[in-house]
Symmetry: C2
Subunit: 416 residues, 2 copies
């Protein structure tokens, strides 16, 4: 049975209150936070007091409340500290430094070896990136934590890369390896989870509770948010949609099975579609990301092969997504990842038509379908958000010690 301690509930409320401040266009009042979260004013006042004391929020002026007592406005205290978000991809590592409001301060991309990438190569690239950014910032605020996204299956608690699809790693204790060389708290997860959390804090997830995020890159996955929380499943592998069978006896997939969704709508799948349409197509390129970019540009100028490649991708994507939507009946579906970034509106529009033809009426009734609106790289942003969530969980700052300190101070204030 689910165990939800008072501590869990308090943590969840703290997240919700802070997400609400992040989601707002400008500073907000405690009353607005209470209205948006459904929490009582007293609870919100308590959470805000805690976040103000920890320096995560700051007072940001007052609003006129029509003759009543003016209400204090709150904003994220961007200068409180920095967060690092790291996106380990197949050929490179992107390291980004954020302020506490999750605005990018600096960004660097480091290449990985072309072949035979070992754990040490990844660790070296990350450490070089983080140290470079820290040095460059000079007297900048302390780094409160770093989140690392690495493809494949991740065991979060232990910080282990259980399996990497690109390099066929097994059970690499990546967090321990990094902890030997980096001083800040480290959080490990995969790009699907990172991208979904970014969407929850900064994209379509600000508006809804139940959300699916389809991420189309070299791999394909469906990030799942239920009741405003990331759904991970029993072993943190929920959302493995890429290897759902779409075409029985269809294309071979790198997983060894046939006809998987990923074999059709990933960068590799789209490159293969182009090759099937015209084996001599000038759109082909050894770099599959480049193929997708070329298809996008060529389709825009009416190139027949590119137009047909987009149409076929939309058909496969729409049929697969319709089944997924019938199952989850979410409020919002978001399309993200390199493929969605490049193929954009035409892919969205054609996929929407296929979904409309295949999903059940009840599924379509409440659904919004859109491209990701998360700026920049959602994976490094999401990784940094994991670090923020970790900081909000920190017992020194938010645990019983801090509560005791606060109570003592309040008692003193009452007697003085």
């Amino acid at each position: 049975m689910a165990k939800r301690t008072a501590q869990d509930i308090r943590r969840r409320n703290r997240f919700d209150a802070l997400r609400c401040v992040f989601a707002a266009a400008g500073p907000v009042s405690r009353q607005e936070v209470a209205a948006a979260t459904g929490l009582s004013f007293a609870t919100v006042a308590n959470l805000v007091a805690e976040l103000l004391e920890a320096g995560v929020l700051r007072e940001a002026g007052h609003e006129d409340s029509k003759g009543g007592r003016p209400r204090a406005r709150l904003a994220v205290n961007a200068e409180r500290g920095a967060l690092v978000g790291i996106d380990v991809a197949e050929t490179s590592v992107q390291v980004e430094l954020f302020d506490l409001a999750l605005t990018v301060l600096r960004s660097v991309r480091l290449p990985l070896p072309q072949n035979d990438v070992r754990p040490d190569d990844v660790v070296d690239a990350i450490v070089t990136g983080v140290e470079g950014l820290s040095d460059a910032t000079g007297a900048s605020p302390r780094i409160l934590g770093a989140g690392v996204s690495i493809p494949g299956l991740v065991e979060r608690e232990g910080g282990v890369s259980v399996f990497s699809p690109y390099w066929s790693w097994r059970d690499v204790p990546l967090r321990s390896l990094l902890a030997e060389r980096l001083p800040m708290p480290l959080y490990l997860d995969n790009p699907l989870k990172a991208g979904t959390v970014a969407e929850m804090w900064f994209g379509a997830g600000r508006e809804v509770d139940d959300l699916l995020v389809l991420t189309l890159r070299a791999g394909v996955g469906a990030g799942i948010a239920v009741d405003g929380a990331l759904y991970r499943g029993a072993t943190n592998s929920a959302g493995e949609w890429g290897h759902t069978c779409l075409v029985r006896g269809g294309r071979e997939c790198r997983c060894g099975r046939q006809g998987c969704v990923e074999a059709y709508v990933s960068t590799r799948g789209i490159a293969r579609t182009v090759r099937e349409l015209d084996a001599e197509s000038p759109l082909l390129d050894p770099d599959e990301d480049a193929v997708v970019s070329k298809v996008a540009r060529a389709a825009a100028r009416g190139d027949a092969v590119a137009v047909e490649a987009v149409a076929r991708t939309a058909r496969h994507l729409g049929e697969a997504a319709a089944d997924l939507l019938n199952l989850f009946n979410p409020q919002a579906l978001v399309l993200g990842g390199w493929v969605a970034d490049r193929l954009g509106e035409p892919l969205l529009r054609q996929t929407r038509d296929v979904i409309a033809a295949h999903a059940l009426p009840a599924t379509l009734q409440a659904l919004t379908f859109q491209l990701s609106t998360v700026p920049d790289n959602p994976v490094s942003l999401g990784a940094a958000t994991f670090a923020l969530e970790g900081f909000l969980d920190d017992r020194e700052t938010f645990g019983t010690v801090a509560a005791g300190r606060r109570a003592a101070r309040e008692a003193k204030a009452r007697t003085s």
Copy 2:
């Protein structure tokens, strides 16, 4: 954003505490409830006081606590009131009367017309059933509520049968129609949701938080529990797994599409498999439920067609389930419904092998897979559980009025 008020949290805690008492083999102490739910002892003591006062729980002796103060034991107060669970199926309506411990007291099954079933026919059958059971119980406890399960899409808040797949109804206000003739609170939902709730309170869901329940009857669905709560989706249609495409261009489905899961593993799908194997098979019968029963018996004695029909059903079921499991990564998968009841262990065993060959290692790692252990009819039991949940939500009994009454009494006790 998710709104979880203090009221929501209190309701959820009340459900969890009570589910814990139901799940136990015998009476339990407050300490055991606190340990099982993760709630603090003080919170549990509070919830228990409320449930004792409402008469839902009763004191049931004491346990020896090894020299300490003896701990009071708690049990469900079965005599507090009765609940009704109603399973509206394609050809008949089953009405069952339960005590508050959800033990069946009486049960009746009423036939529906062979053709052209109208809403009035269903309402008449339900009212006849409920009145018959009420009369028979004579001076029995008051009926606290009735849950009605009806196939298809249900709009719960309004109590509307939005769409019925058997009778092609649209927007029938079933709860209003029933409320004109029945005096108790009424709760409407569908068999998939009812069966899943029964599994959560009385089956495999007692042990785990994340659960899938595959229900194979005339229709096929996947009931979803996330973090110990039923997942409904945006329009209460989550779990529509029956019309997931399993075989592109495959069998025609009654939904108008081709190759749906339901076209292979429902009672109708299995009858069709038998017909494809041998159009003259003595296993065939106009009643598709009967075909499945015959297949089960014939397979047990080694009949070649029956054995092959079970093997093909297991292959289709296993392939479809593997994709579903990769997506949800649940702790437990339960197989229920008429098909599972009849084909039982042989279907479970063969399906398990297919899943093992098709699902990802991370999916299989934490998974248990079993037949439903819910006794009797899980749909009417689940419907009665909705009525219990409704009663636990009742503001008169558990709301601020009751809390005020309690506080006043406690204040009086202190001063006297």
